[in-house]
């Protein structure tokens, strides 16, 4: 008589197992299946096309009713098994059917992870797992209102795309900073987010769901930061958990999933487990390829007790089934120095490819925008092929072995004709290319003469030259520009112009669109890019702290022994008894070893331990101090003399002007540090003539100086011009600094920038041309709205708490346990 085989769950894994079994030992078992879902075995993967309307349910059925009849399999639809009795060898369904077994297979799959937040059981909150979920979503979509999908992984994005295709207004909330972070590196995550947003789906990353709100029915989602996103439908796609509860209750060994050996046998030799509910070799799986391998192995053992078939772990590539988005991810794509990466970016085509090699063999691949070669890379990886011989061309794919190398001018070639190349004179790409062609221009000077492009500050010279190469071909040979760093062929000026012209508003966008050759930059380019973005997109770009040097990250200066120095701001160098007392108290309380007066008329407390920084700031803050930014590439100090207040030679209120400038400009980031001074008469006690910006007060007004240096280089200032009123002095100084902020290269002091751009050009723009001066001034004022935040009070309030305290302290006893 046939042995009795009972299967719990009728998903894709046991379906495949039965196919193997029917082929190898037909008739060996009398099979009974219990399935909680009231239907036959269908292709769960294809639920997304059903949701988007590209397919219907009939088209995704794997085994129709006829198949069960033909193979004499009993299928209990809508019967959930509630107990396994291993002694009696029976299972019991929720409808009371008791079925004996000789062999049992558990294939209960997974259950969706439901966020433990208030409101998660309101009507209108769904998961995305089976046909019932899809039908419920389709019904909700008829209202064509707003939907929120929680989770920006594979499932969430497919759900979002499907709902959008059904006419809903969809927002995706994702906890991590980039989408699908388990499968994609941040660079590809950026491209994916752009593509998703292009379809009209909103994406909010770093979104921490606090609650689902509504009376009886869902009305919206509330985030931890207080934002509320209205919605009539909420889909939770925040992950899955192996469905191992039934097995655990029956006393089978389980961890995350039901533990099985390489032959898919559980701790009870009569019971097997296959599919997402099984845990083998420390892994649980959520993609069908390994589940089908489990099915093959389990079938072999059910057919032949002596079978040696064994499950082996293999990486499975991930793809996203959203029409129009090509994405492929495989294996290990983290970098490391025993690994090498090959990166190809084609900005105009939206392509990003990255191959990770170790010992000349592929260990991981991320492809975005063009995935045709995924299978080939997968194959090379599986077979561990040594790729040394094709290394240079590998990234172009199988068909392009021996193909042409990358075009370094692709980024400029791809710019539209109306992209502005020269910011000073407002010249666009089309005009330059047109002039070169029509007038037969062949040298940079000609182009400057005819179009004015790069004739002013000169920062766009590199781009103009690239346009000439592009238009004139090999006959034009530009002078080589010094690249920013090893990650790019572009120089600082080119990068700055392109950030503006292409409206690049985050670091990943810059790296992708400008075809960086590394996946996440280096310590040279990241701080520079962060500054350029902060400067160019105030209010839009979120400062990336991890791309700042430590001094700017902790708002203090690191000293040679790893302690910090703290300098509170003393406006114009003026202090009071109350302030001095507060400083003295802090020094005592925190045992600060050294207190010193700086060259910039400030008080420096040296030797503060990092863990003490927040408490030191809190105390200083209570006394009314803000950060002195003594660490910053930004406005440091405005030194003053006592001017007409006290000095018999004083001509103007130099102290008052210095304080006014400092209060107006503090907090702004600049390419390199900016130090200023105001002296009340030409005797110049505040040493204003060796500063980045200085003012010498005279009877007739204010003489504005700039471009001095008193560090590694020594240089007296240049005179920008004389103005009559304090207001005008402030306006000119602000315009000057803003021009410097917008044009200089990162880490370039004002005097070096001025030498490059010429004193005359700067004077023309910020002194004589009143309209330009006003423009610079207004842009500075706007950006100060986002910059004048006291970083100390921000930190005292708890931002980035673990930055200052160890994340853990391991005591002696604990270390020795």
């Amino acid at each position: 008589m046939a042995e009795k085989l009972v299967i719990i769950g009728n998903g894709m894994a046991p379906g495949r197992m039965l196919e193997h079994l029917l082929e190898s030992v037909p008739g060996r078992y009398a099979v009974t299946i219990f399935n909680a879902e009231p239907r036959v075995n269908y292709d769960r993967i294809m639920l997304s096309p059903v949701l988007s309307g590209e397919k219907n349910f009939e088209q995704i059925i794997i085994h129709g009713d006829g198949w069960y009849i033909k193979n004499a399999i009993t299928l209990y639809k809508g019967h959930k098994i509630v107990a396994i009795d291993r002694d009696a060898k029976t299972v019991t369904s929720d409808h009371g059917v008791v079925e004996p077994y000789d062999k049992l297979v558990i294939a209960t799959g997974s259950v969706p992870f439901i966020l433990p937040v208030p409101g998660n059981n309101l009507a209108g909150v769904l998961s995305y797992r089976d046909l019932d979920d899809v039908n419920a979503m389709l019904l909700a979509a008829q209202s064509r209102t707003k939907a929120v999908v929680i989770g920006g992984g594979l499932l969430g994005l497919e759900a979002a795309a499907g709902l959008e295709a059904q006419g809903m207004d969809v927002t995706v909330l994702h906890l991590m900073p980039t989408l699908m972070e388990r499968q994609l590196d941040p660079a590809a995550g950026y491209l994916l987010q752009r593509a998703i947003e292009d379809r009209g789906i909103k994406v909010i990353c770093k979104a921490n769901t606090k609650a689902i709100i509504g009376h009886k029915k869902v009305e919206g989602v509330e985030l931890a930061d207080g934002r509320i996103i209205p919605a009539t439908l909420v889909v939770m796609a925040a992950g899955i958990k192996p469905n191992a509860g039934l097995a655990k209750e029956a006393g089978l060994a389980a961890n995350r999933g039901i533990l099985v050996d390489a032959g898919m046998r559980t701790s009870d030799p009569a019971i097997f487990a296959v599919g997402e509910c099984a845990e083998v070799g420390g892994h649980v799986y959520g993609l069908v390829a390994p589940l089908y391998e489990m099915a093959r192995v389990a079938a072999a053992h059910l057919a032949d007790a002596k079978s040696t078939a064994a499950f082996v772990h293999n990486d499975t590539p991930t793809k996203l089934k959203v029409t129009g988005i090509e994405l492929f991810s495989l294996g290990d794509f983290a970098d490391g120095d025993d690994r090498h990466e090959i990166v190809l970016r084609d900005a105009s085509a939206g392509v990003y490819k990255r191959i990770i090699l170790k010992d000349n063999r592929i260990i991981g691949t991320v492809l975005y925008g063009e995935t045709a070669d995924g299978a080939w890379f997968n194959d090379l990886k599986k077979k561990q092929v040594d790729i040394t011989d094709m290394r240079d061309t590998l990234i172009f794919g199988q068909a392009y072995q021996g193909g042409t190398p990358l075009d370094p001018m692709a980024a400029v070639a791809a710019l539209p004709d109306d992209a502005e190349i020269c910011g000073c004179n407002g010249v666009c790409k089309g005009k330059i290319v047109g002039a070169i062609q029509e007038k037969g221009l062949t040298s940079l000077d000609d182009v400057r003469a005819h179009t004015k492009a790069s004739a002013s500050c000169g920062s766009c010279t590199g781009l103009v030259e690239q346009l000439m190469s592009l238009t004139l071909g090999a006959s034009y040979n530009p002078a080589a520009v010094q690249p920013m760093c090893g990650c790019t062929i572009l120089g600082h000026d080119d990068v700055r112009r392109l950030i503006k012209a292409k409206e690049l508003k985050n670091i990943y966008a810059v790296m992708q669109e400008l075809e960086w050759t590394t996946s996440c930059g280096c310590a040279k380019c990241r701080p520079a890019l962060n500054y350029y973005l902060v400067c160019d997109w105030p209010g839009e770009y979120a400062d990336d702290y991890q791309s700042r040097f430590i001094n700017e990250r902790v708002h203090a200066n690191i000293q040679k022994n790893g302690t910090y120095s703290v300098v509170p701001r003393m406006w114009g160098g003026v202090t009071s008894a109350k302030e001095l007392r507060a400083i003295a108290d802090v020094v005592d309380k925190f045992n600060i070893p050294t207190v010193k007066v700086t060259g910039g008329q400030r008080i420096d407390m040296l030797g503060v331990k990092k863990e003490d920084l927040p408490a030191v700031w809190a105390d200083l803050g209570k006394a009314g101090f803000v950060s002195g930014h003594a660490y910053a590439k930004g406005l440091r100090t405005v030194k003053t003399c006592v001017g007409t207040d006290w000095c018999r030679f004083g001509t103007q209120n130099s102290t008052g002007l210095g304080i006014r400038i400092e209060k107006f400009m503090w907090g702004s980031w600049t390419p390199a540090k900016v130090k200023m001074a105001v002296s009340g008469c030409p005797r110049n006690c505040a040493e204003a003539t060796c500063k980045d910006v200085g003012v010498i007060c005279v009877d007739s007004g204010y003489e504005i100086h700039f471009a001095g240096a008193a560090g590694l280089d020594i240089k007296g200032t240049e005179v920008l011009g004389l103005v009559k009123t304090e207001n005008e002095a402030l306006e000119v100084i602000v315009a000057l600094v803003q021009m410097y902020r917008e044009q200089a290269r990162y880490l370039e002091r004002i005097y070096k920038w001025a030498k490059r751009v010429t004193i005359d050009e700067i004077r023309r723009q910020v002194f004589h041309n009143l309209e330009k001066r006003k423009g610079y001034y207004d842009r500075f004022v706007y950006s100060q709205r986002f910059a004048q935040v006291d970083p100390w009070s921000e930190r005292v309030s708890g931002l980035h708490k673990h930055e200052f305290k160890p994340m853990a302290t391991i005591g002696l006893a604990q270390a020795a346990e």
Partner: protein, 111 residues
Amino acid sequence: MRWVLIGSLTDIPRRGARCVETPKGKIAVFRTSEDRVFAIEDHCPHKGGPLSQGIVHAAAVTCPLHNWVISLETGRALGADEGSARTIPVKVESDEIFIALAADSKADRAA
């Protein structure tokens, strides 16, 4: 050797680092942009700079004091510089980070 839980992945920002205090000195724990986690002693082989304060890029950190670039995987200085910092085994299990500590005899007695 024993695994000690030090916190969760989200305690460290991506491309950042945090410190762990141990009886044998500070350990810097790094998280890369791709969520790989490394631990090395917080002491630059050049002049002892606190590596946890550097800029993290790929699987390397640039020391904040004089810009040596240290591999997070091997602790060795990259490029022309020579020297190395001790690495500490780490593992991440469902977002919890553990580091391995050697049970050393001196600490044993102290406990």
